[in-house]
């Protein structure tokens, strides 16, 4: 894999720090939420993906009509879309 990613004008080396920072921030700046306090987090509208069929269609359309790809999943089939 070439280092083209890192030196591109839209991606500087500094940006690579962001995922790590995100995770560290996420893990440390948190309160210990007790099990009985997690009611709100269980709401449908708080899910990562409240409507999987809708996101599947959107992902498929954007994959076919734009140049990028990649989400937090092991991917589905591609398509020969034009």
């Amino acid at each position: 894999m070439s280092c083209k990613f890192v030196n591109h004008k839209f991606v500087s080396k500094k940006l690579i720090v962001l995922p790590i920072l995100c995770v560290v921030l996420g893990a440390t700046g948190c309160t210990a939420v007790q099990p009985w306090e997690r009611g709100e987090l269980a709401r449908t509208e708080m899910k990562w993906d409240p409507d999987p069929m809708k996101s599947a269609l959107r992902d498929h359309i954007y994959f076919s009509k734009e140049g990028s790809s990649g989400g937090a999943s092991s991917g589905g089939g591609g398509c020969g879309c034009n």
Partner: protein, 299 residues
């Protein structure tokens, strides 16, 4: 519709043996629904446990030690409102601040506490000594302790049954160490037969109560007690005197909610000689057994 089979799930919670019995079309369905009910019991046990540092009760009692105030969540607020109501209706006998008395009463020791030690701790007992208003719980007197012991188990039985109903179970029973809430009668409409303990031979049932719906709870002087000089002292302590209730051996009440049944049995036991009269005018079906083994009541 497939025929219903009966399933029973035993578990340990709230300091004793518990079980969820229900009728479902498959083991899969029964297990999943029973798990939801059990999870609810565990949730309440964790949330209101005196023994856990991270429970809501411990948090409240820690604030009390500093003489501060705390805003509570909706569920705790509802329970505190219920505690206020039952304190008022029992004329101060059912008091969630009386738990601190267990510091001087050690039923395993076989020795009575001194009157001095009781009098030293009594000033910390009394619902009217704290402020409960509009979601804010405040402790102008530091050191008051809340103990939901007489409320949470019965409330949990009601909640577990409610969850089973919500999930579509129509026939079943939740039992948490003697506190019972019916989900629904047997599929043929017949009631659940619930045994009432003999207060002097607690492993034996002295009566069977048919229960089609609602809740059932019992209180007795056989649950935790000690006998000193031939006199029985039990764990139900009067908040104004600091001494145990004396009179009835056991009381069982049937009500729509197990929570209410439980409060009624506790109040009846604490009322001593007036217990029977109070039960009679409450209007709920009950069975009270006095120290001579005589049965009173409509059950």
């Amino acid at each position: 519709m497939k025929p219903l089979s009966r399933f029973q799930y035993r578990f340990k919670a709230m300091g004793g043996p518990c079980s969820v019995q229900l009728y479902a079309e498959s083991e899969n369905e029964a297990a999943l629904h029973a798990k939801c009910a059990m999870d609810e019991v565990y949730r309440l046990e964790t949330k209101y446990s005196r023994y856990r540092n991270d429970s809501v009760i411990s948090e409240i009692n820690a604030i009390s030690l500093k003489g501060g105030g705390i805003k509570v969540d909706d569920e705790t607020a509802g329970i505190l409102n219920y505690a206020a109501t039952v304190w008022h209706e029992s004329k101060g006998l059912f008091d969630v601040t009386s738990g601190v008395l267990r510091k001087v009463w050690d039923f395993k020791s076989g020795a009575l506490p001194s009157q001095l030690s009781i009098e030293a701790i009594l000033p910390l007992v009394g619902w009217d000594k704290l402020n409960w208003n509009d979601r804010l719980l405040a402790f102008p007197l530091a050191g008051i302790e809340l103990d939901f012991g007489g409320i949470v188990k019965e409330y949990a039985a009601d909640r577990a049954a409610a969850i089973c109903l919500q999930l579509g179970i129509k026939h079943g029973l939740v039992e948490l160490g003697g506190d019972i809430r019916v989900i629904g009668p047997h599929p043929d409409g017949s009631p659940w037969m619930v045994g009432i303990r003999n207060p002097r031979i607690p492993e034996q049932a002295i009566a069977m109560v048919p229960l089609q719906q609602g809740g059932l709870a019992s209180s007795g002087d056989y649950e935790r007690y000690m006998v000193v000089n031939g006199v029985r002292y039990c764990h139900l302590l009067n908040p104004s005197t600091g001494w145990p209730a004396k009179s009835l051996a056991s009381v069982t009440v049937v009500a729509d909610q197990c929570l209410i049944a439980g409060s009624a049995t506790t109040i009846a036991m604490l009322k001593g000689k007036q217990g029977l009269e109070w039960l009679e005018s409450l209007g709920l079906p009950y069975l009270a057994i006095d120290q001579n083994g005589v049965h009173h009541g409509s059950i």
